[in-house]
Symmetry: C2
Subunit: 452 residues, 2 copies
Amino acid sequence: MIQNMTENQITLYIIKALKENKQKDLDAILDELQPYDIAQIYEDLPEKHRTRFLLHFNIDSLADLMEELSTEEQLDVLSKLGIEKTSKVLDEMDNDDVASMLHELSPEKMKILLSGMKKSESKIVQDIMNYPPETAGRLMTNRFVWIRDYFTVRDAVDKLKIFAEFAETINYLYVIDQERKLVGVVSYRDLLIAEPDEKIRNIMYERVLSVLDTIDQEEVARMIERYDFLAIPVVNEESMLMGIVTVDDIIDVVIQEATEDIEKLSASGKAIDFDTKSIVAAYRRLPWLILLLFIGVVSGSIISGYQKTLSLVVPLAYFMPMISGMTGNTGTQSLAVVVRGLSYNDLDKKAIFKLIMREFIVGFIIGLICGIIIAIIAFVWQGNPVLGFVVGSSLFLTLIIGTLAGTIIPIFLYRMNIDPAVASGPLITTLNDIISLFIYFGIATMFIEKLM
Amino acid sequence: MIQNMTENQITLYIIKALKENKQKDLDAILDELQPYDIAQIYEDLPEKHRTRFLLHFNIDSLADLMEELSTEEQLDVLSKLGIEKTSKVLDEMDNDDVASMLHELSPEKMKILLSGMKKSESKIVQDIMNYPPETAGRLMTNRFVWIRDYFTVRDAVDKLKIFAEFAETINYLYVIDQERKLVGVVSYRDLLIAEPDEKIRNIMYERVLSVLDTIDQEEVARMIERYDFLAIPVVNEESMLMGIVTVDDIIDVVIQEATEDIEKLSASGKAIDFDTKSIVAAYRRLPWLILLLFIGVVSGSIISGYQKTLSLVVPLAYFMPMISGMTGNTGTQSLAVVVRGLSYNDLDKKAIFKLIMREFIVGFIIGLICGIIIAIIAFVWQGNPVLGFVVGSSLFLTLIIGTLAGTIIPIFLYRMNIDPAVASGPLITTLNDIISLFIYFGIATMFIEKLM
């Protein structure tokens, strides 16, 4: 029945079942829904039905539901559940999800919630929170099944049966030795097709790729993306198995990193999406714009320095927006290549040199072609060959410099470990504006007598 | 041994083994490597060793290796393998990978390669190629194991054993009825913990989420991301199971879509990365820049239309770059929010209206604050209150319009199904340039007598 129902119909059906207290109907429908769907329905439910709805779930399902909600809604659910159930739900949730929820809370509230949890669970959560943000340690979960190297296939399957509900749904078992060091990996499929008495040691795959717990999350994403893994084990410096990072978390990382790249290019500020309120969005965008406003005043004062040149040859002003616009655009193009490239490549000195040389040549070619075109246009339009020369040669130079600025500045900031958000598109654009004005008016002033 | 070797050391070791023809050493080391690693090593190998290296692989491993290489290298490998082996390798490769390789070739070459393949395999590849690019049908593979609803757990495991090597490494089995309609799903883990005589029908999960074969790949990515699936089944309009899309392909989709978003913002042109040659990168970037050059000339002609105003009040020129720069920046910020949002949201009319209203208010707030600041600066700097008013009110208006342009233009293009690359950052910036010049000089001309 449910196969063909829309989310709206399901929600209405559930509200009806809640009102009429039809436990069975409710269980039947909830059993077929994914946690994500249940979360969507929960969000759609009127407030008055929510508490009763939550009562229908066991701890496991509540934990699944929690993992699909935003922090705000998570806290709302917990407040409806009461202290005792809260602790049990937190114990059941993936530790990385608990950690990222607690991370948003005040230290006092965090302490209260942690103190209700099982000691073993709260310790793991606290361990995760001790890792710096955006590291493998922060992403990892301990909801996986490990086995010992001396196990037989039968032992492994028996252990799996016990922990089936508990394990993340990936299809590997990681094998550790007596010191908890990671020594191998077997897949569920290997277990299915192997003889029950076969030793794990003999069927396991020994070259297990793993990541250090302190490594950046982008690096983890790169590993999983390259090797098409469903999960990757996380080890500490002694090669001890600490947890696993699963591919579903990595998709979120990839999306997050891409969004950060776009924020760098547009300086649109963090976390503005379709649901952000106007006043918040304006507040987040303003700091950049005000900074750029003042930089814009600097451009203005540069022009005012060349007031005499400008008032002698007013047509110089006609080409000002074109030159600064083109320089800004080419800088943004270079920036996009660098920002995106840095997400998926390591940059050693040799690679940096190669990239800068490449962009220099690109700037040279682009500058030459665009410079010649604009020189001809300026000459034909204003009938002044010197103006053509001034505009063309300025554009040639500014395009080379703009390209290089868009390349060198973000690399420099990246190497200096400065927050790369600083190397945003508008900043490069505005810097290139200033540079291009200096070059343009500088050249024009040199040729001022021939220009008039 | 191999655990602690770097890629370079492994490559050198392999070259040595190849030279000395030590088959066993080679097999031992290759057995422990992932296909991605083998592909990296293959790329590092000097040309003269490559053919001999390839001889060491069986068809299965060659297929795995192929899937990790670029199209160019794939064709190089195939030419080294000869016709007979080529057909076998293509038969073994994932159909979606074969399809995307063939897609790059000329129709003649494609025909030759397809004609060598098994009929059943080449038919599937051709079916995939019949789907439009970037749809679920293009991404799907048929390398998965399906079972019938009347099977027992034992039947299912037996089938899995036969097809173990063949199946993609995901941990679900999809269940179909006599008409090949998708009716359920069971996980490997369910099979491991169930009794052997249990019917699949009784343990399967009936509400299987699936996607239509003609659906956009972004929609598939959204499903997998939301539900944290490892794979999703693809069905046709009659609900018949056509294939599956796996999470590793989805990570590539997410990266590709993010890169496309960034290209939209920067108009950096398709497929420029750190390895692109200068001349190619310049060629890809030039079309946009030349278009923008001509649009820049349009700005110039607008200014020339206000030549009189400008020559009467030269200080107007000082604020020109600031106003056009700010308008361009705020437009890019809005564009970034929209472009990124469109990747992860559906936009109905109500949502569009809400978003445009939001951006209008944002533009109003930003415009008001920045306009007041610049009015004060202009007044203090030039000692002219009218100039302050002209500059401030112009900025106020252009920031509102710039914000709206950055919102409405990409949404309009998106709704018109026009290639969204057209709504790129530089275009919005340049359009905003032109608009801002009109407003600025328009207002200035209105107040020209008081300005002087």
